[in-house]
C-alpha cells in the first residue's frame, strides 16, 4: 500500500491561497482618518521593533510575540470601534491590540519591563495586557481561551439592554485570535452561542498561515476559515489583512450589524507575521520565497502609497509621523526603565478583590 505523503515544508516553494481583492479606491476616507490609521500602524510597528531590541538587550523576559506585518488588522478593526466603550479581547500577541485600543505605549512598555506602572501592574507580562479603562479584556495566553471571555462581554451588552433596560448598552466586542485557534472547540462552541443569541461581537481571525510551526493547511480540513461561519448562519467575510482600508471597511460593516442587533460576524483577515512566532522561535520552517511574497505586501507601505496617491498626505507628512512615533516609543522605554518595580509587600495583592 502506498501512503500519500503529507506535504513537506520545501524551503524553496510555498503555496498561496488567492487573496480577496477589494478595490478600496472607492472607499472614502478623510485626511484625518488616513493619518490616524497610518499613525496607529506605525506605532504598532515601531513599538514591536523596540521590543525586539529590548528583549535582545535583556530588558524584558519570557515569551514575547511580536505583531510586525499584521498591523492592518489591529488598526483596521479596533479603530473602527468606539475607543473606551467597545471591548477588545486579545491573545498572547497582544501589545499592538492594546495600543490600538488606546492603552498608552508607556504603560505597555512598562508592563513588558515588569514594572508597577505597567497596564497590568507588572503582574501580567507580555501575554497578559489588561486595561479596564480602555476596555481591553486582556491578552489570553492559551490558544482560544479568550474567545469565550469575549463572548461573555458581548452577552453582557445584550443582557444590559434587554433585561436592565439600559438603552445605552450598544457596545460591541472585537475578539482576536489566530488560525490555530480556529481548530479549537471553544471557537465552534462560541460561534454557536453568539449566532444563537445574536450577540454583538466580531470574531476576527488573523490567519497568518502558521501556528508556530504548524502550517494552517496541515492543521485543518477547510483552510478557508470564514466559510465556517455559514454553518452557524453567521456572516463570514474574507479580507486582505494587509490592506487596512479593506479591513476597516469590513469591520465597519460588522460593527454596524452588531450594534443594530443583527448578531456576530466572523472576519478572516489573511495576513502574515514578519517575524518568528516569538522572539525565541528560530523560524526555520517558513520558506524564503513565502516570506518575500508577504514582505512585499507590507501594510504600512501600502497605506502610505494610498494616502500619497489620493493626495491625502505628503512624504513629509508621513515622515513627520514616523519621527513623532519613534520619539514616543523611545520615551516609553525611558518611562519603563525609570519606573519602580512592584513593592514586595504587595506580593499577595490582587489575588482577591479588596
Amino acid at each position: 500500500m502506498v501512503l500519500r505523503e503529507a506535504p513537506m515544508n520545501d524551503p524553496n516553494t510555498f503555496t498561496e491561497r488567492s487573496l480577496p481583492v477589494i478595490d478600496t479606491s472607492s472607499f472614502h476616507i478623510t485626511r484625518e482618518e488616513g493619518l490616524m490609521l497610518y499613525e496607529d500602524m506605525v506605532l504598532g510597528r515601531l513599538f514591536e521593533d523596540k521590543c525586539a531590541e529590548m528583549y535582545y538587550r535583556g530588558k524584558m523576559f519570557g515569551f514575547v510575540h511580536l505583531y510586525n506585518g499584521q498591523e492592518a488588522v489591529s488598526t483596521g478593526v479596533i479603530r473602527a470601534m468606539r475607543p473606551g466603550e467597545d471591548y477588545v479581547c486579545s491573545t498572547y500577541r497582544d501589545h499592538v491590540h492594546a495600543l490600538s485600543a488606546g492603552v498608552p505605549a508607556r504603560q505597555v512598555m512598562a508592563e513588558l519591563f515588569g514594572k508597577e506602572t505597567g497596564c497590568s501592574k507588572g503582574r501580567g507580562g507580555s501575554m497578559h495586557m489588561f486595561s479596564g479603562t480602555h476596555r481591553l479584556l486582556g491578552g489570553y495566553a492559551f490558544v482560544a481561551e479568550g474567545i469565550p471571555v469575549a463572548t461573555g462581554a458581548a452577552f453582557q451588552s445584550k443582557y444590559r439592554r434587554e433585561t436592565m433596560g439600559d438603552e445605552s448598552a450598544d457596545q460591541v466586542t472585537a475578539c482576536f485570535f489566530g488560525d490555530g485557534a480556529s481548530n479549537n472547540g471553544q471557537f465552534f462552541e462560541c460561534l454557536n452561542m453568539a449566532a444563537l443569541w445574536k450577540l454583538p461581537i466580531l470574531y476576527v481571525v488573523e490567519n497568518n498561515k502558521w501556528a508556530i510551526g504548524m502550517a494552517h493547511d496541515r492543521a485543518t480540513s477547510q483552510p478557508e476559515i470564514y466559510k465556517k461561519a455559514s454553518v452557524f448562519g453567521m456572516v463570514g467575510v474574507e479580507v486582505d489583512g494587509m490592506d487596512v482600508l479593506a479591513v476597516r471597511k469590513v469591520a465597519q460593516e460588522a460593527v454596524a450589524r452588531a450594534r443594530a442587533g443583527e448578531g456576530p460576524t466572523l472576519i478572516e483577515a489573511l495576513t502574515y507575521r514578519f517575524r518568528g512566532h516569538s522572539l525565541a522561535d528560530p523560524d526555520e520552517l517558513r520558506s524564503a520565497p513565502e516570506k518575500d511574497f508577504w514582505l512585499s505586501r507590507d501594510p504600512i507601505k501600502k497605506l502610505a502609497g494610498q494616502l500619497i496617491e489620493r493626495n491625502l498626505a505628503s512624504e513629509e507628512d508621513l515622515k513627520g509621523i514616523d519621527d513623532k512615533i519613534q520619539e514616543l516609543v523611545n520615551e516609553s522605554v525611558k518611562f519603563a526603565e525609570t519606573s519602580p518595580e512592584p513593592d514586595p509587600s504587595e506580593l499577595y495583592r490582587y489575588v482577591f478583590a479588596e
Partner: protein, 327 residues
C-alpha cells in the same frame, strides 16, 4: 419559611438575590425550562425570563468562559454545573481565568462569579458522576471554595457567595437535596470563611464537611452512648481553611480526626493536616488522623461503593482509638 427542602433553600437564595440585584443571572445546562436537574432553578425563568435564567448548549468550558467575561464587564453570573464533575471540562476557564485573572490583570478586573452544583458520591451513579472536585481545585489561586451541608447554611452561604466580589466554587451534595429544616422567615447570610461548630465537646475535634457532617452526627449517637464527648466542626470553607475555629477547638481537645469524602491523596484533609502540623503541633497529644475515600474511581457496584467512602462505624472506631492513644 417553615420547613424547607435543601434544594428549595438554594432556590430561594437564588430567587432573592436575583430580585435584589438585576445583574445576577443563572446559566448552565437545563437551568431554565427544565428547572435544573435537581430543581434548584425551577420556574425561575418564568419570573426572570430566558436571558436571566439562561439555558446553555452543552459546552462547559465555553459557557464558563462566557460567565467570566460577563463578570469582568459587570454582571454577577451563577453557573450551575448540572453535575460538578462536568466542570472538569471547564478546568481551564475556572483556573486560568476565573481564578487567576484578577491577579494577572493587576487588579484591572474583578470576577464576581458563583459556580455551584451537586458533587460527591451519590447512589451508584458511577465514577464520572461521583467526583469531588473540591480537592482538584484546592491549588488554584484566587478561588474561594465552599461546601454547604444543611438547608440553613445552603441558603445563607449561597446568598453570601452571590454577593462576594470573587469567584466562589460552591459545592452541594447530590444526596442532601431532600434534607428538610425550618428556616427563619427573615433574611440572613452565612459567612463564607467561617467553620461551624456543629456539636461542642472536649475529647477530640472532628473536622468534616458536606455530607460527611451527617455521617459524623450519626457516629455521635453511638459515641455519646459509649461516653465519648467529641467536638464536631463543619469546615464550610474549604479554601481558605478557618484556622481560628480549628485552633480554638484543638486547644481544648488536643486531638484531631478529619473526615472527608474526597480521595485521600492530596485531598482536603491532607492540606488541613499540614496546616495543623505547621501551626498547632505543640497542642497535639496524638497524630492527626484522617478518614478519606479510597483512592479509586468510584465503583458502580453498591457494596464496593459503600466500601469506597467513610461510614459512621469507622468514625466511631477512630474516636475510640485516638482518645485512648497516649504519646
Amino acid at each position: 419559611m417553615a420547613e424547607t427542602l435543601f434544594f428549595n433553600a438554594l432556590r430561594a437564595a437564588t430567587d432573592e438575590e436575583m430580585a435584589r440585584d438585576p445583574r445576577v443571572f443563572v446559566l448552565g445546562e437545563d437551568v431554565g425550562h427544565y428547572g435544573g436537574s435537581y430543581k434548584v432553578t425551577k420556574d425561575l425563568y418564568k419570573k426572570y425570563g430566558d436571558l436571566r435564567v439562561l439555558d446553555t448548549p452543552i459546552a462547559e468550558n465555553s459557557f464558563t468562559g462566557l460567565a467570566v467575561g460577563a463578570a469582568m464587564t459587570g454582571l454577577r453570573p451563577i453557573i450551575e454545573g448540572m453535575n460538578m464533575g462536568f466542570l472538569l471540562l471547564a478546568f481551564n476557564q475556572i483556573a486560568n481565568n476565573a481564578g487567576m485573572l484578577r491577579y494577572t490583570s493587576g487588579g484591572n478586573f474583578t470576577i464576581p462569579l458563583v459556580i455551584r452544583g451537586p458533587g460527591g458520591v451519590g447512589r451508584q451513579l458511577g465514577a464520572e458522576h461521583s467526583q469531588r472536585l473540591e480537592a482538584y481545585f484546592q491549588a488554584v489561586p484566587g478561588l474561594k471554595i465552599v461546601a454547604c451541608s444543611t438547608p440553613y447554611n445552603a441558603k445563607g452561604l449561597l446568598k453570601a457567595a452571590i454577593r462576594d466580589e470573587n469567584p466562589v466554587l460552591f459545592f452541594e451534595h447530590v444526596l442532601l437535596y431532600n434534607l428538610k429544616e425550618d428556616l427563619p422567615d427573615h433574611e440572613y447570610l452565612c459567612p463564607l470563611d467561617k467553620a461551624e461548630v456543629v456539636h461542642s465537646g472536649k475529647d477530640v475535634t472532628i473536622l468534616t464537611y458536606s455530607r460527611m457532617r451527617h455521617h459524623c452526627l450519626q457516629a455521635l449517637k453511638t459515641l455519646k452512648k459509649e461516653g465519648y464527648d467529641p467536638e464536631i466542626i463543619d469546615l464550610i470553607s474549604l479554601k481558605p481553611i478557618d484556622m481560628e475555629t480549628i485552633r480554638e477547638s484543638v486547644r481544648k481537645t488536643h486531638r484531631v480526626i478529619i473526615v472527608e469524602e474526597c480521595m485521600k491523596t492530596a485531598g482536603v484533609a491532607a492540606e488541613v493536616m499540614a496546616l495543623i502540623n505547621e501551626q498547632l503541633f505543640d497542642e497535639l497529644d496524638a497524630p492527626v488522623m484522617r478518614l478519606s475515600s479510597q483512592d479509586i474511581p468510584t465503583p458502580y457496584n453498591g457494596k464496593l461503593e459503600h466500601l469506597t467512602i467513610v461510614q459512621p462505624p469507622q468514625i466511631v472506631e477512630a474516636v475510640q482509638k485516638i482518645v485512648e492513644m497516649r504519646i
